[in-house]
């Protein structure tokens, strides 16, 4: 056997998890009290895991870099969470959710993990409702659903446009209950800077107190990493400013394999950038594609007229508009998966049809939806011959109820009223499917070190479907890790407290301090952001929505150069022993500068197009699918897990072959 044993249990797909749970080793309640677990990250994954592990009786120490667990980046998720409840009676089932997720991921995820995810999804909704999460309801008082891209059923639960916020507040409230009981020791404003290994097992972490600058040692019997994705490697993304890869990268350097780093999701509907000062991009939730129609003008002269302000989008008649998604993908229309929608927008803008000054924007139009809802409402209200204005008014009311906060957000940023003129949108980096490799137990290649949520690679293959990240985070934290970690910890009941005054802790702490001092003493010439922006530009231009071998090779050497320049001339003001946001950024960007290179190396290796990874060399040349991405199952149906060996360029590839026993591998068609 190779080192990559996925530990997927035997037996039929649909019985694996149940049978496995029945046979798993348990820790008795008295012994749990003497076992410590560190959870780094308090987003949906870390927050739900910390709360559940504490409920079970373990002593949990949780960490986050914000001033409260409730502020983790999960809070920003807008659209919703999937679950195979089939409340709408539209043919949904565990198998269908599983199938959609595997297909949506372009057949690059592990079948058994995805099935388990679909299986526990319904429990998530039950749990959240019991916690008091105020999901949207219909007039009968029952839960409402909406549709997301890449599927033909309505299985997405939502709380207005603030689903992530409400789910996170649910997990946070469960954490608060355990903090009050003393079962969770919460460390806010702390950043993990390394993991400590003793005899090959993860036994603790080194963390910096971001208020005092103090470097602290924390020990435990197992360490869980739930620190989110690495989208900020692009500098501009929809992630929070502080979202980072540091914890994941540090454990990678200590032996955890990094899987599929090149699988990134570029989300089709984000607010386009407006200038060089831009610090982040804002997502307009995918749920908008339920009702919004995407288009650009058919004629180049209209494009120019719009850019020069001679025409408004609303001046163009239906015939003058190219609803290019409806044209190219009649079956799914505006609800094709994200990667497909993003590439289609890029294709139109590259061809010169972009509708703003930078040429990088397409329209997302709600006019038809407003009319449709308006007419519906007029009927419901029994209005005969309602005026056009009345219909618009009624329609806008419905749209406001559904997406009000998103429309408001758009108006604040762009200074245009999206009820009256179509939104302008463009793709932006949003989510990273790649991440730390984990087995079926969610354990990394380091014993006792677990990784959950967006930080791991597990469930989304090469492309994630909308509303599935929240599902995965909560599935991992509430329902999967609490079982699988028990199996490992059942062997730790006699270990006793892990001391922190050992050579392993000494060494890890010294390395962390040395690095911090090197930054502070560097006296360079450029700010951290200067380098981050440079890296971001290489990533976007050469490792973005479409990739080719020549550019990827260039990216590898350019990133290396930026990294060398960074260490030579980065300037970090202030001291190490105080609150110092520039120092925090420096450490994060240093890690992005290594991860970025591995990313490009992985993308170069994968000479096929799959999901979010589009290689220009690998497209369908003829037939109905001409120009669409071409997967190569014969050679690339594997997970690429990289082992750290010094420089990113020295990383060694390990393959986990993907087997599909319950699903037939097919070309993903949304035509």
């Amino acid at each position: 056997m190779s080192v990559l044993d996925s530990k997927v249990p035997e037996g039929p797909l649909k019985d694996k998890w149940t049978n496995y749970k029945d046979k798993i080793n348990l820790v008795n309640p008295a012994n749990k009290r003497s076992i410590d677990i560190i959870v780094v990250g308090t987003g949906l994954a870390g927050g739900s895991a910390a709360a559940t592990l504490a409920e079970l009786g373990y002593n949990v120490k949780a960490f986050c870099y914000q001033d409260s667990p409730r502020r983790a980046h999960s809070i920003a998720a807008q659209g919703g969470i999937n679950a195979a409840k089939n409340y709408q009676g539209d043919g949904d089932s565990t198998f269908r959710l599983f199938y959609d997720t595997v297909k949506g991921g372009d057949y690059r995820s592990r079948e058994a993990n995805v099935y388990r995810l679909a299986e526990v999804s319904a429990n998530i909704i039950d749990q959240c409702v019991a916690q008091g999460v105020p999901f949207a309801r219909d007039y009968g008082g029952l839960l409402d659903n909406r549709s997301f891209g890449g599927v033909l059923v309505s299985r997405t639960f939502y709380a207005k446009g603030q689903t992530g916020q409400q789910l996170l507040l649910g997990a946070y409230s469960a954490m608060n209950r355990q903090i009050a009981r003393g079962k969770i020791e919460m460390h806010n404003r702390h950043e993990m800077l390394d993991v400590v290994k003793i005899d090959g097992k993860a036994r603790g972490i080194i963390a910096r107190n971001l208020v005092t600058g103090e470097i602290e040692r924390h020990s435990a019997h197992a360490v869980v990493i739930a620190t989110g994705g690495y989208g900020n490697v692009y500098f501009l993304s929809t992630n929070a400013m502080g979202s980072n890869a540091t914890a994941a990268w540090k454990i990678h350097k200590k032996g955890a394999f990094f899987a599929n780093p090149c699988y990134t999701q570029i989300h089709p509907t984000c607010i386009p950038r407006s200038g060089d000062y831009q610090s982040k991009l804002t997502l307009m939730s995918e749920s908008l594609r339920n009702d919004g129609r995407i288009w650009v003008p058919k004629k180049m002269e209209d494009v120019l007229a719009i850019r020069e302000g001679r025409k408004k989008p609303t001046d163009l008649s239906e015939e003058e508009r190219d609803y290019y998604l409806e044209r190219r993908y009649p079956a799914f229309g505006n609800l094709v998966p994200r990667d497909v929608a993003s590439r289609a927008a890029k294709e139109r803008c590259d061809a010169g049809y972009g509708v703003n000054a930078t040429g990088e924007a397409v329209y997302l139009d709600f006019q038809s939806a407003i009319e449709r809802y308006g007419n519906e409402q007029a009927k419901l209200h029994g209005l005969t011959n309602p005026s056009k204005e009345k219909i618009t008014e009624l329609g806008e009311e419905i749209v406001r109820a559904k997406y009000g906060n998103l429309f408001q957000m758009y108006e604040k940023i762009v200074d245009e009223n999206p009820y009256k003129t179509p939104m302008m949108i463009y793709p932006a980096t949003h989510y990273t499917m790649g991440g730390i490799w984990v087995d079926y137990n969610l354990m990394t290649t380091v014993e006792g070190l677990y990784c959950i949520g967006e930080a791991n690679f597990s469930d989304h293959g090469a492309n994630r479907l909308g509303a599935s990240a929240l599902m995965q985070g909560l599935a991992d934290g509430y329902f999967i890790l609490p079982y699988t970690i028990g199996d490992y910890l059942s062997h730790e009941i006699r270990t006793g407290k892990i001391p922190t005054d050992t050579p392993e802790f000494d060494e890890a702490e010294k390395a962390v301090k040395d690095r911090i001092n090197a930054f502070i003493n560097n006296k360079g010439t450029h700010s951290v952001d200067y380098f981050h922006k440079k890296l971001g530009k290489v990533m976007w231009d050469k490792c973005g929505m479409s990739r080719n071998a020549t550019d990827l090779k260039k990216a590898i050497s350019e990133i290396k150069e930026i990294r060398e320049e960074f260490y030579k001339s980065v300037k970090v003001p202030g001291r190490a022993d105080e609150m110092n946001p520039e120092l925090e950024k420096a450490g994060r960007v240093a890690d992005f500068l290594e991860l970025g290179e591995l990313f490009a190396k992985d993308a170069l290796m994968r000479e096929e197009s799959c999901g979010g990874h589009f290689r220009e060399e690998s497209v369908e040349l003829e037939g109905e699918q001409k120009g669409e991405a071409k997967r190569n199952d014969a050679e690339f149906a594997f997970v690429a897990a990289w082992e750290y060996k010094g420089e990113p360029s020295d990383a060694v590839l390990h393959k986990e072959e993907l087997e599909f026993k319950d699903i037939e591998l097919k070309q993903r068609s949304y035509k």
Partner: protein, 248 residues
């Protein structure tokens, strides 16, 4: 546009702190307020000085991290938004802008514009939850239908982002709007009923312990709240508290 910024600088909680003047130029009206702060900090770093520390993360008005008092108003002049959602088009060339941290006894300054809001954490820990374990055997989510209006109201209360602007804009530094929002969310849902008495008592007790002031119904909090949390929630908190004390 060109602007003069008067910014509160305080090097750590022990420092007395002072206002310092800065000039920034070529600020675009499409920049967000925090992007303007980024430009300022880049300028400060290039001069070899220490940049202004401020809290921020999501930069889209949802995490509740950003917390600036701008020209005497929590989150600045525009209504219904957080500092990170404020754009420079709300100012004009030549303006002088005063930037201070949220001020309240229960929110001590950590550094510059960064304050310590852990008092909010402790209030939530005192009872801001429903005691239900994660088991996988919880009853079906649709087993208890909830009136849409109650659910929508609960959602409105639940949108509080815990930023603290209500406290910072209240002359008594009262936290009633924040606590009212949390108590209301649970009071409006059937799931929250079982623990209603203890919840409201414990949360209010913790609020008093943290040194937040009394509510004298000035309504300043509602005006400055970026999420439009309404005073109705304070009224509901008072009712719940009264009920709880009657029940004992």
């Amino acid at each position: 546009m060109n602007l003069t910024l008067k910014i509160w600088r305080q090097n750590g909680s022990q420092d007395k702190g002072r206002m310092v003047d800065y000039q920034v130029s070529d600020i675009s009206k499409d920049m967000s307020f925090l992007e303007m702060m980024d430009v300022l900090n880049e300028q400060i770093i290039n001069k070899g000085e220490e940049p202004v520390a401020f809290d921020h993360d999501c930069r889209e008005g949802i995490c509740g991290m950003c917390s600036m008092h701008i020209n005497g108003e929590a989150h600045g002049p525009d209504k219904g938004i957080t500092t990170c959602q404020l754009h420079m088009r709300s100012f004009k060339d030549g303006d002088t802008i005063t930037i201070e941290p949220f001020r309240a006894k229960a929110f001590p300054v950590i550094k510059d514009l960064v304050v310590d809001r852990s008092s909010f954490e402790r209030i939530q820990q005192a009872g801001g939850y429903i005691s239900v374990n994660t088991s996988g055997n919880t009853q079906d989510a649709n087993a208890i239908p909830i009136d849409k209006h109650a659910a929508d109201k609960a959602m409105d209360a639940a949108t509080c982002i815990g930023c603290g602007a209500c406290v910072a804009s209240c002359k008594n530094a009262s936290a009633m709007l924040f606590v009212g929002a949390k108590v209301s969310q649970y009071a409006l849902l059937p799931q929250g009923q079982v623990e209603a008495v203890d919840r409201v008592k414990n949360m209010v007790a913790q609020m008093d312990l943290e040194g937040f002031g009394n509510c004298t119904n000035t309504g300043a909090c509602e005006v400055e709240c970026p999420k439009g949390i309404s005073l109705e929630n304070i009224a509901r908190l008072n009712r719940e508290y009264f009920k709880a004390n009657v029940k004992g």
